[in-house]
């Protein structure tokens, strides 16, 4: 079985490393692509910019872990654009952020996030959260296979 890509949208290198550390600790071996701002994430998803020519249909990420506070284009905007496009509409997105503000939660769900996880300070708790996410979204969860010839 082909291991699908996980797109990690995270601008903080510490959090990036911790997340990858947690994947490793929980034996999640999927390829992890890291986008360090919202624009890069969209480029990857739609094959634009530095990702020009990428097979965006054949190599769709199986899960997007999305931070909200991002340089250039923020997480909610990335989410909105994903949900507006047939190509990315059904890709599971888990908002992974430090914020617990009600406003962020509400907006994220309005934009169509599949889950919202607050990164705990305690690494063990964080690791456990990543484990649960992997288990659910990479193994248990089924997504519809919708391919659209003309993206955007």
């Amino acid at each position: 079985m082909k291991r699908h890509t996980i797109l990690l949208v995270e601008d903080n290198p510490v959090d990036e490393e911790l997340t990858i550390m947690a994947f490793e600790k929980n034996n999640i071996t999927n390829t992890v692509v890291v986008a360090r701002d919202g624009a890069e994430a969209l480029d990857y998803l739609f094959g634009t910019g530095t990702y020009e020519g990428r097979d965006v249909v054949g190599d769709k990420p199986q899960l997007v872990l999305l931070d909200l506070k991002l340089p250039k284009i923020d997480g909610l905007d990335v989410l909105r654009r994903m949900r507006e496009n047939e190509l990315t509409r059904y890709i599971p997105v888990v908002v992974l952020t430090s914020s617990k503000e009600q406003e962020d939660l509400v907006e994220a769900y309005q934009m169509g996030t599949n889950a919202y996880v607050r990164k705990p300070v305690d690494f063990n708790e964080f690791s456990e959260a990543v484990h649960q996410l992997g288990l659910f979204w990479l193994i248990l969860n089924e997504c519809p296979n919708v391919y659209v010839k003309q993206p955007i």
């Binding site: 600790k25 909200l68 506070k69 914020s99 990164k119 705990p120 300070v121 305690d122 690494f123 063990n124």
Partner: protein
Amino acid sequence: MNKQLHVLIIENSAYDTALALQALERAGYDVRSERIGTEAQMMAALREKAWDVILCDYKMPFFPTRQALDILKASGLEIPFIVLSRHAEEEAAVECMKAGASDFISTGNLGRLVPVIERELKEEEERNARTRVEKALLEGIEREKMALEMINRICSEADLGSILKQITENVGRFSQADRCLIWLRDPDTGQLRLQPQEFRSCEAVMSIDDAISPNRPIGMLALNSTEVVNLPDVLQLETLTEEDRQMIQERGVKSLLQVPIFYKDQLLGTLRLNSVFEKRVWNAEIVRLVQYMAAQAAVAIYQAKTLQDLKDSEARKAGVTESSLDAIITMDHTGKICEWNASAERILGYRREEAIGQDMATLIIPERYREAHRQGLAHCLATGEGAILDRLLELPTLRSDGTEFMAELSITRLPIAGQSMFTGTLRDITQRKQEQERIEQIVEERTAQLQMLNKELEAFSYSVSHDLRAPLRGIDGFSQALLEGYSDRLDERGKHYLDRIRQGSQQMGRLIDDMLQLSRLTRGDMTLEAVDLSMLARNIARDLQEQEPERCVTFIIAEDVSVKGDKRLLQAVLQNLFDNAWKYTSRHPAACIEFGVTEQDGQTVCFVRDDGAGFDMAYSGKLFGAFQRLHGVSEFPGTGVGLATVARIIHRHGGRVWAQAGVEKGAVFYFTLGASSGEMLPGEAPSGATGSPPLKKDAETETNNKIEVKTR
């Protein structure tokens, strides 16, 4: 006792009349007589003496009886004239009687003489009495006439000064006093003041009154006497001091009459008469008339004073109206202007004479409102009710130059002489409006600034929650990574240090979370609703027990405690207080946590009480400050934000929170919710069955140890 009888006898020989005199003496008269025989003698006798009766011999040779009767008639005296005759000649008798004789007696019938004389004397007496009465009557009428004339003259005067002048002049002349004065009583102070309008018979006259002052009343001559004081000889007055006497003598005052001036029961003043040149006895009748005049004068004085008061009050009112900064405009029921003060001229631009009589609506109401105004006026006149009466209105108003301004006005209806009059007070509030708009603008700007600040603050706390936590996660995560991946290369101490690092970062993570909660609770709008605190408390207690089922804690929760407040915030209050109670009783094998309400100083107070570790009241000042703790973390964990959160929420509700505790004696946290938001709802009086009030261990300690948290 013999009555004296003066008899004038006209005859030649004494003999004829001797018998007559004898008869009179026998009848008991003490007769004094004189005999004359000529015309000249008779005239002299009548002129020089008073006679009771004249006896005349009929047949005097040179002095006929007829002539004597004429003399008597000419003298104007009315003395009984009796003719005596030796012969009873009827013809002669008739002739004498016709000529005016009283009777005709024949000497042969002298027995008639005494009865006739007695009859004549009686008649004479009656006649005299009648004349006296008539005379007195005539005099009285004359005086009454004078009094009436005086009253007429007084009544024709309108002002007080002229009235007083008329009174003193007339009473003075009438009573033939040398001086007549009036003292009037000041209705406010009750003191009498000498009025300048006085009467003097001549310039030189002096009076006691000039020397009298309220500080120096003369003897008993108290001016405010309500009685008539009549002193024909002033110096006879016993109460006079030597000084008074001297003063009176210097001024030459001899007699004095004082009459009070009454109007109904009110003493208006005193009328004073002085006689200087001679002693004068004002008899009862004059006194009565002076009193009568005083009574009439009183009416005139009273009326004049009332009129004066009315005029003064009118003048004052007019002054107020004229000096008012507001335009004061009155219109009648037809809408015509009948009052227009100086401010109306200034504010509206029409002169008084231009405005009076004009239609008010046409003059100052903008055209688009005129129809509504006319309908309103018609409705008000028809029904007596007016929606715009007696309250403050703001209406655009026209100036004479056609420009409009915003006016604040109030209109009052005055029923005058059966018709409605409307008085409006109007002020130009253009400036105030501008000021208001400016203030509103400032408020708007400030609000915008404040909102921006709030936004910034939110952004800040967002950053705090987001960005401060990220490095903490790194510290914790990499410490953990070291512990896991490099444990073979770390000794126990190294591992311990890494644990310390992890504990620190986790503690800081909690602090950040609590701080965020605190700031979230004090921001945002409050939604006031009925909140069932009892239910909230029960749920919290259940959760706590479920979390640590091994603990033995009794909860006592009062039923039906309901307040008005923000549910989410009050939930946080109870959560924090219960968390604390739960935490600080954790070292005791068994504990009791109570929620209830009680009365303090007539106010309903909620409380959460535990029997746990408590605290030293000496440190109670730190209790409600953020990040302030009275216990070490090793003893009881916590960040010190819980009670700060409680205090903030209670203050947002306008209430108070305080605590009472002792080391190892438990703690009670009291709170009230302010009148605006946190009123206790009806039906939640402390219920004895479930929520017993807090035990007062020591009333004095309790008040001394009460902590109140002041509003920020």
